[in-house]
Structures are given as structure tokens and as C-alpha cells.
Symmetry: C2
Subunit: 140 residues, 2 copies
């Protein structure tokens, strides 16, 4: 992986975006198996409706994993210091999710270069799913 160079970054820069999907039910089943979150609202439309939802919803943590992939396609996982997100909207099977990030600030504590990114995940409908932030360490 070619590393981004700290000295080439400016506030407001975008990093390469990532579009995932359409999300299918098999992916939700795989995520249920990986995480152990077998809540039927992610697997069964009828159960989701009983829970007051319009139908099966994508695990919020799977949406967050897509946002994580945006980061790990930019830098190795070990350089991600901190990752946070607000859960703003819900995604459904069939949705495409686009993850994007811009440089919010550049910090240089002794020994490391830190990039703070503003993150966003949005469905093709325009619905915002996640709004987040990540702190990445870059080495010279």
C-alpha cells in the first residue's frame, strides 16, 4: 500500500472514497456470524416489523466497519488511533453505502504526525447513516 504523505496533506483534502454494495442479506448473515449479533431485526423482515422497523436493517456496526475500510484502504490498521461515529440513519438490504473523509486538522505532537479526519457514510438515497471522526498517525 502506498502511504499518504503527511507533508502533502492540507485541511479540507479528501481521501479516496469507498462505495460498498448493494448490501445483500448474505452480508448481514456473515456479519451476524462474525460478530455474534444474531438479533433477528438484521435477518428477518417480520421480526424487524414487530420491532417497529420498516423491515430488516443493516447492523450499525457493519456500516461502521465500511467506514473503517475507508480508513484501512488509506493506511494500515495499526496507524488508526481513534475512531468515533454517531449513528444518524439506518441502511437496508439493497442500499449502496458511500464512505468519504476530509482532513479536519493536522497535528504534530512530538514524534508523530496526526491527521484528524471528518467521516461520513451515506446511502444512495442521500440518507446520512454515520457521521464520524478518526485520528490517524502518519510516519515520515
Amino acid at each position: 500500500m502506498e502511504q499518504p504523505e503527511y507533508s502533502n496533506l492540507s485541511i479540507g483534502d479528501s481521501i479516496p472514497s469507498l462505495t460498498v454494495g448493494p448490501i445483500d442479506r448474505a452480508q448481514l448473515a456473515l456479519f451476524a456470524g462474525a460478530s455474534g449479533d444474531h438479533n433477528p431485526i438484521h435477518l428477518d423482515d417480520a421480526a424487524a416489523r414487530e420491532g417497529g422497523l420498516p423491515g430488516t436493517i443493516v447492523h450499525g456496526m457493519l456500516n461502521m466497519a465500511f467506514l473503517g475500510r475507508l480508513l484501512t484502504q488509506w493506511v494500515p490498521q495499526q496507524q488508526i488511533q481513534r475512531f468515533s461515529s454517531r449513528f444518524v440513519g439506518m441502511a437496508f438490504p439493497g442500499d449502496e453505502v458511500t464512505c468519504s473523509a476530509t482532513v479536519k486538522s493536522l497535528e504534530m505532537p512530538p514524534g508523530e504526525n496526526r491527521v484528524v479526519l471528518d467521516l461520513s457514510a451515506q446511502a444512495q438515497s442521500g440518507e446520512v447513516l454515520l457521521k464520524g471522526s478518526a485520528t490517524i498517525v502518519l510516519f515520515d
Copy 2:
């Protein structure tokens, strides 16, 4: 799911903890399939060693998903407003991960009751994997 009651919570209270594992390689493959993160450092010991790691490591986002499960076993996903984590250590296949949380603060902006939790995920070795925070909304 029985809902926690806001009026019964105090700062410092623990919520029910969650232990996951031992994590096996099939789980990492499932997570790769769900998230689309097929980086071989999570699937192939030789590739991980070439990347300077002692062997295959668990996806940081899968550890974070376990911490997310700690939350969704306490309240429905829709009540999780915000979730953040620092990536402190790495987990390996065979590790057990224990996720725990304590009440850090209780806030009552108009119309909702908010609980801020301090989160931690730790391997059976004592290695801290994640340190995080979550904001949960409880309704009366």
C-alpha cells in the same frame, strides 16, 4: 429485551459484561466477507509476518463490533447515539475478548435521558484491546 431504567442508574455502575471467543479463523473469514476487508493480515499468517506482525491479527473493527454487541445486548441499536474507541492493542485467533462498561455520566437534556458509558475490551492475557465511550439514550 428488558430495558435498563434511567432512574436506577448511578455513576460507576457496570452494565452486564460480554465475553466472546475463543475467536477462530472462520470468524475472521466471515468478517472479511461481511465487511469486504480481505486484507491478508487477517487471514494468512505468512502475509501477516511479512507485514511485520507476529501472525494473523483480528480486524480492529471486529473487536469494535464485539464492543458494539455489549451495547446492543443492553439497549436496542436505535438508542445508541454515539460510539468511539481508541485502538490500543491487537487480538489474535484463539483470544477471548471481554467487553465491559461503566456509567461515566448521566445527562438530561430536554426530552431524553442520556447515559455516557466508559467502555473497555480486554483479551484473556490482560492485554487491553480497546478503550472507548458510548452515548445511549434511554426513554422513560
